[in-house]
Amino acid sequence: MPQPERQILSDEDGLPEWTVAAPECLAHLQDTFLSAVYESPELATALVRSDNPDAALERLRIYRGSVFGNLTQSLAGVFPVLRQSVGDTFFDAMIARFIKAHPPSESGLEHYGANLPEFVAAFEPLAGYPYLPDLVRLEWARHRAFHALDETPLNIHDLANLSPETQMNTELCRLQSVLLIASDFAIDTVWSAHQADSESGPDSHGMTWQEPVNLVVWKGGGEVWIRRVTAVTAFLLGNAQQTVSLETLLARVSEAFPETDLGQVLAEALANGWLVAVTA
């Protein structure tokens, strides 16, 4: 029996080099098959062994149904409040259009859905619900926080034990699991109303959600949390997206909000575990 081609060379990432040419027939089949799944099953009937084109179509539709079903189920898990808000039937139909327009481009399913907020914002049938794109953004932020790197936040006591000069030179930034969302709508209230333990219930008849909010989404103690914060706190966390010294960070906050009690804002960020010390 002929043996497969094989050549081992380590490259810089320590993984073996791949040098085998793929069969052209196989590449063509796979490209056509994915077009059948994401565009139209009619494109691939010639690939399938069957008595007639209709039978081939039926077989391809099983795969299309399976792929769309899996992706819809995954997105329903990430965006449960959106699903409740628009109803299961509407959600499934909208997501089918989303999947067709944006087939997954990464191997990790946890990355899929990042551009759903933009899709919802441009989705004409939902034009009368301007708060929905931000609500979707909030659900995506919760998903990202859940999967973000686990980091040990900077402890207020550790900081207090340093000399004032060392304190000010401490380089810090926001934890990767701490995300900021600004909205013109009270999407945190909408989100809470859709939770199982909500007393108000999700009924939004007669209510207006228009109310500018700054929200922090973060992970702590095994849960993902959402909290409404002041514009000052949002500014501080926004400026801590990249590494910055404590001195520079506080100077920026002080410049933007001269009346602010800096100690109080910093204490809030540290007490909630939103900042991490960055060592060189």
Partner: protein, 279 residues
């Protein structure tokens, strides 16, 4: 290649699913091993990984992957394998497996297990990809047969013939999914016993059992039901042929209460023990 695995799995395990994390940790049922869907733990960190670290101190693990996409007609996804290798090196699972399938091509991912066209050329290509994955991970991997719903016009051999060829060429092991054999046998009209009898018994290191749905025109591998009577019967035959191979109950959709899942695992354990006692 060097056998990196010194520990062996025995008995009947269950698939670890997030809905059962807390109850499993609290109760710590007497299970010989757990299988994880590895792709859910390949991120930088996050809650699933911290749970996994807790389970790893209590249970031997089997890593079941869905993202190697070994049949894709392109180079392996190096980023995927970098992440996978890091996890394998950290946890040193007893088994690492993926499927006889492809999932993506040129930047479009199906996140599904799509069947291969069975030809000698494709078998050589698939075997090369397995060898690359094994060299990458520094260990032998297990390849699982998938359920399928179509046959390609260009296929020139049976699935089990393809499987036998790649095992021989790639020097890999097998994960025999008995439910998948039944589902495909019904969908394509072949005899499931022919499939079972053809596989190289010494290479079968793990068995999967699951439930399917009858859709009228075809059986769907849904992992949403108890194991069917036909599949239990086929499992008995598999145990007689392959010996007391470690077995997993897979359940992903309409997940039952943990006790129901453990009861299903217990049914498999009775059968496995019966065969073992008779041996």
């Amino acid at each position: 290649m060097t056998e990196a695995v010194t520990e062996r799995l025995e008995g009947v395990g269950i698939g670890l699913r997030s809905a059962h994390y807390r109850e499993l940790l609290a109760r710590q049922p007497d299970l010989p091993w757990l299988e994880i869907l590895t792709d859910n733990y390949l991120g930088e960190g996050g809650q699933p990984l911290s749970f996994l670290r807790q389970f790893a101190t209590r249970y031997p693990l089997s890593f079941h992957c869905v993202g190697m996409s070994l049949g894709s007609a392109e180079a392996p996804d190096r980023e995927y394998f970098r992440r996978l290798k890091r996890r394998v090196d950290e946890f040193r699972p007893v088994h690492v497996s993926d499927h006889l399938c492809w999932s993506s091509f040129h930047g479009r991912h199906s996140h599904d297990l799509l069947p291969m066209p069975y030809t000698a050329t494709n078998a050589r290509f698939f075997a090369s990809k397995i060898q690359w994955a094994q060299d990458c991970l520094g260990r032998r991997i297990l390849i699982e047969n998938v359920s399928s719903y179509l046959t390609y016009a260009e296929s020139s051999m049976e699935e089990w013939e393809f499987m036998i060829d790649i095992v021989r060429m790639a020097d890999c092991d097998l994960l025999c999914d008995v439910n998948n054999i039944h589902v495909s046998a019904v969908n394509h009209g072949f005899d499931p016993l022919t499939y079972l009898q053809s596989l190289p018994a010494a290479r079968v290191r793990e068995i999967h059992l699951a439930g399917y749905e009858d859709q009228g025109t075809h059986l769907l591998d849904s992992h949403s039901r108890p194991v069917s009577e036909e599949v239990w019967a086929l499992y008995r035959t598999a145990l007689q042929r392959f010996g007391p191979v470690p077995t997993l109950i897979e359940w992903d959709n309409d997940l039952p209460a943990l006790d129901d899942l453990l009861a299903e695992a217990d049914k498999a354990r009775q059968l496995l023990r019966g065969i073992h006692a008779a041996a």
